[in-house]
């Protein structure tokens, strides 16, 4: 059974988290299987909150299932669908269910998802959500009212090191740390030299950085992300490697690439850990870790 994530961040040289994407619907067999497979191989399982604005099972019940299975969950929480009342209420609820880690995000806009006519909320943003959690820990709600018992969370946020332009992104990164983020998880990174440059800057702050690793399943996926996903840049050499893989072996190559990156980040002590996003292929996370020599 993994130690509390806050402790892992403090005591381990290199932490590993993996993402769990809840399904759309109540058939959770595959998800439970993946949770079982991963819970002891990673330091925490990070559960998405209606990722990409596509309606699914929420993050909180899945975090509870992970807890029951003996894993360490991280509750992803976006500001897209809840105002400050609902955010705080859910945080209190998460705490009484034993959930101790939160990743605060702004959330994708409604129209990128599958309910494009829904009302977007965005009462707060990710910076203010971090601040809100820290205020609740002081025994006060966001409006300054007394809480009957205060929660305590390990709070993270995100950054996009490949954002263009980078300066406004870094301004927000610094605000997240000022608001009280303990760890920062990055958008997928593929260019290690660029990432090292970012780390040269990020090391000035008292915060743990977990590099985002997204498993590449094919050259097509890499090209698609380059064209369509903000802040993701897959260098041409990696695309060439995937193209050169024998027919039907691109995914294996993707696992090898992801493993190689994790290994390099760890051996060269570039950052404090990785967050692996296998997007629908969560069962392959152990293979990525073994390719990384872990």
């Amino acid at each position: 059974m993994p130690m509390p994530f806050a402790e892992a961040l403090k005591t381990k040289e290199f932490v590993v988290t993996a993402e769990v994407g809840p399904p759309k619907g109540v058939d959770i067999q595959e998800m439970l299987h993946n949770i079982e497979l991963l819970k002891d191989k990673v330091d925490a399982l990070n559960v998405t909150d209606n990722q990409s604005s596509v309606m699914r099972i929420g993050s909180l019940p899945v975090c509870k299932l992970i807890k029951e299975a003996g894993g360490e969950p991280i509750l992803q929480m976006t500001c897209r669908d809840r105002n400050r009342v609902a955010l705080q209420s859910e945080l209190l609820g998460a705490y009484i269910l034993g959930i101790r880690n939160v990743l605060a995000l702004t959330g994708d806009y409604i129209t990128v998802g599958d309910h494009i006519e829904a009302k977007p909320v965005f009462d707060l943003d990710s910076v203010l959500l971090v601040k809100l959690i820290r205020q609740m820990e002081q025994g006060k709600d966001f409006a300054g009212n007394e809480l009957k018992g205060a929660p305590k969370f390990c709070v993270g946020a995100i950054v996009t090191p490949e954002a263009d332009p980078i300066e406004p992104q870094l301004l927000k990164f610094e605000k997240k740390i000022k608001a009280g983020a303990e760890f920062i998880q990055t958008q997928a990174i593929y260019d290690l030299e660029n990432f090292k440059k970012f780390m040269g800057y990020a090391r000035k702050f008292d915060v743990k950085i977990l590099a985002g690793i997204v498993l590449l399943a094919s050259a097509g996926m890499a090209r698609f992300m380059n064209a369509n996903v903000p802040g993701i840049f897959v260098p041409q050499e990696l695309i060439d490697e995937l193209v050169a893989a024998p027919k039907g072996k691109a995914l294996e190559k993707g696992i090898e690439i992801a493993g190689r990156m994790v290994r390099q980040l760890r051996e060269e002590k570039v950052c404090d850990g990785v967050h692996i996003m296998a997007i629908g292929r969560e069962h392959l996370v152990p293979e990525i870790l073994s390719a990384a020599g872990m």
Binding site: T106, V112, P120, D125, E167, P168, L171, A179, P230, G231
Partner: protein, 223 residues
């Protein structure tokens, strides 16, 4: 100004089912400037309706009027008596004007001919863009005169989201990222300190609806 956009003819026609006498009522201010509800647009829509009704073999009288402003009671004085002669008034004003007309003529069916879209500016001839959400707690002093509540679809007050890309918005590659614009403007002015501190959460109480404002000089009278 307030920018509106005319509703599709079919939708407008469907409102008028069963009407025999219709007044198309234009507004000579904002919606005239944005070429949606002024005198010219009243003429055009009235002609379209006449032709459509004629084609369908319906006898509907469609007449036209345009007043200076539909958001001020006194401008209705000139048409007050005339309105009684119609079953329906099709107002081409913004939503505020339509409601004022409906309030002044409670026995008549007052219908909207436009969708009111935003408070904005004219970019060039025939092009308008949204600039203000009327949030009742203006942030423009902090953000280099660029409104993050309006220009950022998420209304973020503390910097860009992760969806911004090459200065464009996650929602549309055609739209600029408000926070990239704000950053660049303040950088150019040497005033980035304005956005380095954490901006407090937006006070939505300030825009509790419906809002009413009484000018200080008229407070006593109202009380």
């Amino acid at each position: 100004m307030i920018v509106g956009h005319r509703k599709p003819l079919e939708e407008i026609k469907s409102y008028l089912d069963g009407c025999e006498r219709v007044l198309v009522l234009g507004c000579g201010t904002c919606v005239a400037v944005c070429m949606a509800g002024g005198e010219k647009e009243v003429q055009l829509l009235a002609s379209q309706l006449r032709m459509a009704f004629k084609e369908e073999g319906k006898e509907v009288l469609v007449e036209e009027e345009t007043i200076q402003r539909q958001c001020d009671r006194e401008y209705f004085d000139t048409i007050k008596n005339k309105v009684e002669h119609y079953d329906a008034v099709l107002s081409l004003a913004c939503g505020a004007g339509v409601q004022m007309a409906a309030e002044l003529f409670p026995k008549r069916v007052v219908l909207p001919g436009l969708n009111t879209t935003f408070i904005g500016v004219a970019e060039k001839e025939g092009v308008w863009s949204e600039k203000c959400r009327a949030c009742a707690s203006c942030l423009l002093a902090e953000t280099g005169g660029i409104c993050p509540i309006t220009i950022c679809p998420k209304g973020l007050v503390n910097g860009p989201c992760g969806g911004t890309n090459h200065g464009k918005c996650e929602v549309s590659k055609e739209k600029d990222c408000a926070w990239t614009l704000i950053y660049r403007r303040l950088e150019g002015q040497g005033r980035l300190d304005k956005i380095r501190e954490i901006q407090p959460a937006k006070n939505y109480k300030a825009q509790t609806t419906p809002a009413t404002i009484v000018h200080a000089a008229y407070m006593e009278e109202e009380a």
